[in-house]
């Protein structure tokens, strides 16, 4: 084994030698520095390999030939080796990254860099408390040197503040180290540890001093103003070093000396960390400078690790692995982001838009953002899961809430940024990224993926997931250079093959939703053939969303479910973001989804804590906590189904998405929320809180969603927004059905889910077809398209008849079931509102067909052609299905009913044979009966007879021109003024406008403004005055001291 001293020898020896070199030897100096860092890295690798294979054991190395406590000793174990590898790799890349600076300057800053990394390594190894002080100082002083890499007065001011702060911090540490010596007669950590149980009060003060000093080094709120200035002013490469290497070292160090602390010290650390995580991310909301933003994010992430480490007495040694997961993600992502920042010119978030000119760089950026936000498959995702599971097992709900809120804030600014990068206007077209500088981020992005792969091994939950769907994502990613049709075919083939092998294995609800998702994939992908070009990125993302959906259906464990949920969220977010103007909507989609996912995570964690099970059956429980868990999970799923109040993301997201994405996210994706609710309701059943039946509340939520969604839809001018609001309404019905917790209610909900899938897929595609020809979404600007796009018109016609629930088409089933279920359940008021909502649906549906298709054809649309075959094909497939289930409703309803009988044995429909031979059966409920086949036949019969009569009666029937109408003797000539379509239901909004006040939107806007206001108020703390920062540190120190003084 190579002794750790060689790091010191090489680092310091070379450092000393380089001290005398000048500008002429810059190239040599630079090369030697690089060589030394490579040596460090090599040694670390050697250790890891040796320790892993058992070639050597973790061991203690003594200096000066004497045993501790009389000399200084170093310890090298696997943990030390891994941390040193992280530091050294970062150091190696940093030296490479800085080579221009190092070559340019006359003074060999490379030597400072080298000595600094040597010092960090030694901090990791050393077991002597005073030695830590010395190397802390070496780190601090070399930091103050390399801050100068950016030679401007900002950097100088920041460096000065940093030095001031660090001298105060080191004074705390020094006093601590000295006091521990006087109290225990030793400076050797392991020696002191043996005396922990007999610590004198002085030793307790000493431990407190040392711990708090390291904690302040880790930039806790509010004693961290100095660090933020450094992040902002210093070269981003320095940011990478501070945020990555220094922080990692300090955390390791803290973990090393924290063992001396009492439970109270741990608790203090945990609280400080959690508050830092919360407040730092909160203040990050107001940041416009990318480096400062990254600074806030770094501080937040480190706070999280602090919080995790502080939970050790509660959660046990497992926290180290959790903390490491978060740390590793932070380390890789933050360093990578800082490096990227160094390649971007300009100091606004918008200037990062340049990244999107290079898909590889953009991917790397995306990986970092998603990793920081703890999405799968990154290590932080597993860490988050383990952490929340662990915390809820010990009942630390406050901490969970703090952490979850903090991570929500973090996601807000990260994704706002991501959206800007992907979407913002950018003047420069050249990507301007040097590949040399991108190598580091690329390497770290790969390491993140690898880290995620290995992190799975540390999962405490059983991991029985089928990752095959994710293969499609990877394959399509690799093949992204191919033309769109090829990728489309490939993905279709993959969906087909997967369905062929896996769908037969599903049962019950799995099967229903599996079919929805897979059939949905096929229907929406067929549309994709109408797209030309490569559509870069589209197919892997689509595959990701569908992979998430199918994994969701397959999930049997809490973890699997959550994993799939997050994959799906990520995929769909990207898809929505692809729309031209969708950035703000994609962001709000992400925020609601993420908030919902956090609630789901917390709910799962609590459920697991109550029952101790890892499968979804953990939700079957009877505990005082069940209503709370129920509420959290329901809210989580409702964000996806866009229940009223949580719906504000939906209209924008669905309408601004690309033409074939809209049906995916509307017709298909929303069903994931429904599936979640089914999974939940099946297991938890009806819950009460204070004697109030939560299902009754949900039924009101559902029915209000239906009513208000429909009302809003009726008021839209934009046809995609109209359909989007219509989804809010439809999903409201589904929720209403589910909330009834009866056979008929669920039959309503599930058949409704299937129907909504069919209608919305079809209608969004039809509307997409219209858009593909008219390039307009404003309905009043169209008109008369029936003459140009009759095939599309027929689709919309069938769609609206079906959706409005008019017999004989399948929508009537929903109405009939709904009424029966309402009567059965005695939900009369909700039932009446459901009827009103159903009637209102007429309004928007009529508008949808009238405004674009009927009325006066506009001049600019006279040459419009029918939508292309690939757009029409899936629509007509859906029509075929709709006609089939309309004619023989039992095909669908009877089968679902059989399934539901397992859950709700009573109150289902009775199916009896009728007089008609071909299997048409009459459905009999408790109250009424209905035979869809008869209705269809009678209607067609009457219609047919009348049509024949008409055809026979008419004489000389001829078509007239567009303006040949009775118009007070005038002959109108401008279709714009003759087409009544704008503000179609003015009278309606006059009568019921009070129901359409965007209360939810105002509420969320209000919340958002307050949150940002508070962030702004909070950050006033950091007024830029170094002296004030010192006072913050002192204040923080004293508050901690007096808080804990109650008895260490």
């Amino acid at each position: 084994m190579v002794s750790p001293f060689y790091i010191l020898i090489v680092g310091l020896g070379l450092g000393f030698l380089l001290g005398m070199t000048g500008k002429k030897q810059a190239a040599l100096t630079n090369m030697l520095t690089l060589f030394a860092m490579a040596f460090f890295t090599g040694v670390s690798l050697h250790w890891i390999q040796g320790l892993y294979t058992g070639a050597f054991q973790p061991s203690m190395v003594f200096s000066a030939g004497f045993k501790p406590p009389f000399s200084i000793s170093l310890f090298l174990g696997m943990h030390e080796a891994v941390i040193s590898l992280m530091i050294n790799v970062l150091g190696l890349i940093s030296v490479w990254y800085f080579r221009e600076f190092l070559l340019r300057d006359s003074k060999p800053l490379g030597a400072v860099l080298l000595v600094m990394f040597m010092g960090l390594n030694m901090l990791v190894f050393t077991r002597d408390l005073f030695n830590i002080f010395v190397f802390l100082e070496i780190t601090a002083i070399s930091m103050s040197g390399i801050i100068l890499m950016n030679d401007n007065h900002h950097a100088h001011a920041a460096g000065f503040k940093y030095l001031l702060a660090s001298s105060l911090i080191s004074a705390f540490y020094l006093l601590g180290a000295v006091l521990i010596y006087f109290s225990t007669g030793s400076l050797y950590l392991d020696d002191i540890l043996t005396m922990k149980s007999a610590f004198a009060p002085m030793a307790l003060i000493a431990v407190f001093l040392m711990v708090i000093a390291i904690v302040i080094e880790l930039k806790p709120f509010p004693a961290n103003g100095w660090a933020l200035d450094v992040y902002e002013a210093a070269h981003p490469g320095i940011g990478a070093i501070v945020s990555g290497a220094v922080t990692t070292t300090m955390l390791f160090l803290l973990n090393k000396i924290l063992v001396l602390g009492s439970d109270k010290i741990y608790l203090l650390t945990a609280s400080v960390g959690a508050l830092t995580f919360l407040f730092s991310n909160w203040m990050g909301l107001q940041q416009k400078n990318p480096n400062r933003l990254l600074g806030y994010s770094s501080i937040g992430q480190v706070g999280l690790v602090l919080a995790i480490l502080g939970m050790k007495p509660v959660l046990g040694d497992g926290v180290e692995m959790i903390g490491f997961g978060v740390l590793l993600t932070h380390f890789l992502a933050k360093a990578g982001l800082f490096w990227l920042s160094g390649t971007v010119k300009g100091s606004s978030l918008e200037s990062w838009a340049i990244l999107r000119n290079n898909p590889v760089i953009l991917t790397i950026f995306g990986i970092f953002v998603f990793a920081l936000s703890a999405f799968p498959p990154f290590p932080s995702f597993y860490a988050k899961w383990e952490l929340i599971i662990g915390l809820s097992g010990t009942g630390n709900y406050l901490l969970i809430a703090l952490i979850l809120l903090g991570s929500l804030f973090e996601v807000i600014y990260l994704f706002r940024w991501f959206g800007i990068v992907v979407k913002a206007e950018s003047e420069e077209s050249d990507s301007g990224i040097e590949w040399g500088k991108a190598a580091g981020p690329a390497l770290f992005a790969l390491a993140l993926l690898a880290g995620g792969y290995f992190a799975r091994n540390y999962l405490s939950a059983p991991d029985m997931m089928n990752f095959i769907p994710l293969v499609a994502v990877v394959v399509l990613w690799v093949l992204d250079f191919m033309p769109a049709w090829a990728k489309n075919t490939l993905l279709l083939a993959m969906v087909g093959i997967y369905s062929w092998f896996y769908l037969p294995q599903y049962s019950d609800y799995q099967l229903i939703f599996g079919i929805i998702f897979m059939a949905g994939a096929v229907l929406t992908l067929l549309y994709g053939y109408s797209e030309k070009g490569k559509r870069p990125g589209f197919y892997p993302l689509t595959a990701m969303m569908f992979a998430g959906l199918i994994m969701l259906v397959e999930a049997t464990t809490l973890f699997g479910f959550f994993f799939a949920w997050e994959v799906m969220t990520a995929g769909s977010y990207f898809l929505i973001l692809r729309g031209k103007k969708s950035q703000p909507h994609a962001l709000s989609y992400m925020l609601f989804s993420f908030g919902g996912a956090l609630l789901i995570l917390a709910g799962f964690a609590m459920a697991h804590a109550v029952t101790g099970l890892w499968t979804l059956d953990a939700l079957v429980m009877d505990s005082p906590l069940s209503p709370v868990i129920f509420i959290m999970l329901t809210l989580g799923f409702l964000t996806k189904t866009a229940a009223i109040g949580l719906h504000i993301w939906l209209p924008g997201a669905h309408s601004e998405a690309e033409a074939d994405v809209s049906p995916m996210v509307s017709g298909i994706l929303l069903k994931a929320g429904v599936y979640g609710l089914i999974v939940l309701f099946m297991r938890m059943g009806t819950q009460y809180i204070g004697g109030v039946d939560l299902m009754v509340i949900l039924s009101w939520v559902g029915i209000l969603s239906a009513l208000i969604g429909n009302l809003m839809a009726a008021m839209q001018e934009d046809m995609k927004r109209l359909l989007a609001y219509s989804s809010v309404g439809q999903l409201g019905y589904i929720l209403f059905g589910l909330s009834m917790m009866s056979n008929l209610g669920w039959l309503l909900a599930i058949s409704g889910a299937i129907m909504h899938f069919l209608y919305k897929t079809m209608l969004f595609q039809a509307v997409g077809g219209v858009y593909s020809r008219t390039h307009d979404r404003m309905m009043y600007r169209m008109g008369g398209l029936i003459f140009r796009m009759p095939m599309t018109f027929i689709v919309v016609l069938i769609g609206i008849i079906a959706l409005s629930g008019v017999p004989p088409l399948s929508g009537f089933a929903g109405k009939w079931l709904s009424f029966n279920a309402v009567l059965q359940k005695e939900y009369y008021l909700q039932g009446a509102l459901a009827v009103l909502a159903g009637a209102v649906a007429f309004l928007y549906l009529f508008r949808l067909i009238h405004a674009p298709f009927l009325g006066q054809l506009k001049d600019n649309l006279r040459k419009v052609k029918e939508a292309s075959l690939w757009i029409l094909l899936p629509q007509y497939l859906v029509i075929a299905v709709i006609m089939a289930v309309s004619t023989v409703p039992g095909l669908l309803l009877e089968r679902i009913g059989k399934l539901l009988a397992k859950t709700f044995p009573d109150g289902g429909l009775l199916w009896v044979d009728s007089k008609i031979p071909f299997g048409a059966r009459t459905a009999i409920s408790e109250y009424g009966y209905w035979n869809g086949t008869y209705v269809m036949l009678v209607t067609i019969g009457i219609f047919g007879i009348l049509l024949i009569v008409q055809l026979l009666m008419q004489r000389n029937n001829k078509k007239v021109g567009q303006f040949n109408i009775v118009y007070s003797g005038e002959r109108p000539s401008t279709p714009e003024t003759t087409h009544h379509a704008y503000n179609f239901y003015a009278h309606y909004s006059k009568a019921l406008g009070f129901l359409m006040v965007p209360l939810a939107e105002r509420f969320w806007t209000w919340i958002s403004e307050r949150v940002h206001d508070i962030a702004h108020q909070l950050r006033q703390l950091y007024n830029g005055n170094g002296q004030v920062y010192l006072m913050h540190i002192m204040f923080f120190f004293l508050v901690c001291y007096f808080l804990i003084n109650g008895g260490f």
Partner: protein, 303 residues
């Protein structure tokens, strides 16, 4: 099955003619109230043949062409999905296809088709008329449904046959007397569905003199007029069945429906006209509250 179809055709034929005559009577009543003599009772037939006789008929497009057919299908279908006379095979129609809810939903079949047809004409007033009709219809639905719900709760059934059966045995068994609140709500809602004042602003565009039916002429008009004959009748039958004990003989059915049809006429000749938003608000206040009281009454006192 075959005999059912024959019966249905006979029933429709009877009801159509009855409807024409009733419409004639109503026009006369309106005239008399307005101090005019009015048209002869058989005027509808004259109009019908006149329209039929027109030599040319034009169309704006397919939906325009199909609109009246949709409309009449809606009217006849509504009638045919109901048992018009309790216990009489001739007038049982196709009521086995579905229950009360089928009727409630099917009445929109014609509305929708007509709206589409009228819209295709490209006449702005058609669209205005349609929006008015649809908007008002949504508000009318609420008290009506509340009343229906009350009835369904009261009789534990959505089957019209069953509801009529339970009202047999003396007029005190009629819903009118067992649940006057629901009946009141339904009758008020009926005003909105019958296109008479004060809720006839929907038709205003045709009075000036254009609008959906005005674009239509010739044999389109025949269909529309036929529908105006049979559709209100079908609705009256529905009300009769729900609230007035149904009918056991054809004569009783004709008398009861006539009386019911007179109710909106009476109101219509005595009141001025509401604007759409006014009628929406009105329906969502008075009748809706009565409807809710009706349900409460059933829920707390009859069950």
């Amino acid at each position: 099955m075959g005999e059912k179809i024959v019966y249905a055709i006979i029933a429709v034929f009877i009801m159509l003619n009855y409807g024409f005559l009733v419409n004639g009577v109503i026009r006369r009543i309106y005239a008399r109230v307005g101090r005019r003599i009015g048209v002869p009772i058989y005027q509808m037939y004259i109009d019908l043949f006149k329209s039929w006789g027109l030599r040319t008929n034009i169309r704006h497009g397919t939906m325009f062409y199909l609109g009246p057919i949709f409309r009449l299908t809606g009217g006849i279908g509504l009638f045919l999905f109901m048992p018009a006379v309790y216990g009489l095979a001739l007038f049982t129609n196709f009521s086995f296809s579905g229950d009360l809810l089928l009727l409630l939903s099917f009445q929109f079949f014609g509305t929708l088709g007509m709206a589409l047809g009228a819209s295709e004409s490209g006449h702005p007033n058609s669209a205005i008329g349609v929006t008015r009709g649809l908007a008002q219809m949504t508000a009318v639905e609420v008290p009506f449904i509340l009343a229906i719900m009350a009835v369904a709760i009261q009789y534990d059934s959505l089957s019209l046959t069953e509801i009529i059966a339970q009202q047999q045995g003396g007029f005190l068994n009629w819903t009118l007397f067992t649940n006057p609140l629901a009946t009141a709500a339904a009758l008020l809602a009926m005003l909105g569905a019958m296109m008479r004042a004060p809720f006839d602003v929907v038709l205003a565009p045709q009075e000036i003199p254009i609008g959906p039916p005005t674009e239509y002429h010739s044999n389109y008009m025949v269909f529309l007029q036929s529908n105006r004959a049979i559709f209100p009748l079908a609705k009256s039958i529905l009300f009769m069945n729900l609230f007035f004990g149904g009918a056991t003989t054809i004569v009783m059915m004709l008398v009861k429906t006539f009386i019911l049809l007179m109710w909106p006429v009476l109101v219509g000749v005595s009141f001025p006209r509401f604007r759409v938003e006014q009628s929406i608000r009105w329906f969502l206040r008075v009748p809706m509250i009565i409807g809710l009281l009706g349900i409460a009454y059933v829920h707390f006192f009859l069950k």
